[in-house]
Amino acid sequence: MKRNVAIIGGGQTYHAARRHDVDQAEMVNEAVRKALLDAQMTMDEIDLVLLGNMEFFEGVHMSDCWLVHGTGAYGKEGLKITTGGTVGATTVCAGAHHVASGLFDRVLCIGFEKQEEGDTGAILSGVAHPLWGRSLAGAAVGYFAMMASSYMAAWGATEEHSAMVAVKARQNARKNPYAHLKLDITIQDALNSRMLAWPIRMLDMCPASNGACAMILADEKTAKSRCRKPVWIRAMETAHNEQFELDWRDVKTKRPIFSKVCAERLYRKLGVVNPVDYFDVFEIYEPATWAELIWYENLGLCAPGEGFRLIEQGKTEIGGPIPVNPSGGVLSTNCIGASAMLRVWEAALQIREEAGEHQVSKPVRRALTTGYGGTNWTVMTALSRTLDD
């Protein structure tokens, strides 16, 4: 990067299905205040505000203008970012680009969604082509169900493996005070939960959450003079997929699909030979249990077809050798505009050793995060504790 960029502060709201006690600006402001407090900074010192939020999920357009008092953006430079499930990660990525360019030194990035105010499923159907597939738009669950049926047929995984991911996420969430679904569930509970779209059951899917996350990014000089524990953004990569072509619905595809392409490019940039050795913790975007298994494989944490073995062996537990989503992940908290930013922020907390009860057992010097969204693209961010890592 042209200039080094650090995360010098951040914060998140509590995440819940109901937040009628706040309007959108009030909710966003909760996260912004926490981030400023964490960075020991005032709003006057921020020179750019980026807001990540999905279009029309809350029934308003141009939320960056509406919420200017809550975001702190009044009179400042700023823009809004809307990229689907990746929103939060794209917002961090754009913030880092702005700092790296040398034009801005202190950037506030915010991601939020207040899902209860609208009909996410209805708005998401607009992601499908109006004349080619929209009549069948099965919300996210239909897509992940097709992917799961393909995964099971290709590799011989079972619904039990999916249940293991469901349990890991919600048990981890119980250690995270901010998480939405803190459920003390067993594999049997997951297997007994209501069938939505075979083989996906209620506990295999993420919830619809309300919440916000905010992060402050800064240049090296600011970071070193102002921040006790800066977390460095070492590399970012984005890759898109093409609509109508098989991707995660065909797990054996030989095509260069977004998730593999993105990981390969990022690893090349950093000189990563084996991601399992290189990174100490992973925070990935898994709206459904099966997506987590595919991520294991596409990130190279194991060979193709062995993702379900990894969960079976408990390797990705908080105390395991390859901890994945100690926060509870998207399966436990999905406030869409914030979800991908929470991956980055939670990874930063791990590097700062400030994740609290869900801090992983091993020391964390480096972390990898992924965002994921429709129509199949990803933003990956690699973080480190020092500039030598």
């Binding site: 029934g59 929209r134 049926s149 047929a153 011989g156 083989p199 109508f244 065909d250």
Partner: protein, 168 residues
């Protein structure tokens, strides 16, 4: 004295917006062929040779213009499926599809892309599987209107049995 519960006001509202979406040159050709002649046309990229459906004017991978039209078979292979238990609303009509029903992604013979549609089988995992051969069932000519509903569903080719998983 009883404490009054704190009140939070939230106001319900509905936004109903009409749109008219242009299919454009390429998709219009495919949709009119489907309506008038019951045929499915895709385009082939001159460089990577991927046969793309719905047809796109430019190959996303090669950034070249797709110009060769290819008629696809009305048969293909199921690449992924689900048995849907939720009463999903059809966003184009506002009416729910009655669950349970099966739908999936089918790769028609000759195509690189897949196509999502209903599969006319019982919602029973023994009756539907990845790799199942399917054919397109069209509406009668006089009922076709030039969109994907001109295809009623995929149906399994007769005489197939679900392969049993290997024992090792």
């Amino acid at each position: 004295m009883a404490t009054k519960e704190k009140e939070w006001i939230s106001i319900p509202m509905t936004v109903d917006v009409p749109y008219r979406f242009a299919a454009g040159e390429y998709l219009t050709k495919t949709l009119t062929e489907l309506r008038d002649n019951g045929r499915i046309y895709a385009v082939e990229c001159p460089k990577c040779k991927r046969v793309q459906l719905p047809p796109r004017i430019v190959c996303a991978e090669c950034h070249v213009k797709n110009e060769r039209w290819v008629e696809l078979a009305l048969e293909g292979t199921l690449a992924g499926f689900t048995i849907m238990y939720l009463p999903l609303t059809d966003p184009t009509t506002g009416k729910p599809h009655e669950p349970p029903f099966v739908y999936g992604s089918v790769r028609l013979d000759g195509a690189t892309s897949v196509m999502d549609h209903f599969v006319d089988v019982e919602p029973d995992r023994e009756k539907v599987w990845v790799g199942m051969r399917c054919r397109v069932v069209l509406r009668p000519r006089e009922e076709r209107i030039g969109d994907l509903s001109d295809i009623r569903f995929f149906e399994p080719l007769p005489g197939q049995k679900k392969p049993q998983p290997s024992t090792h």
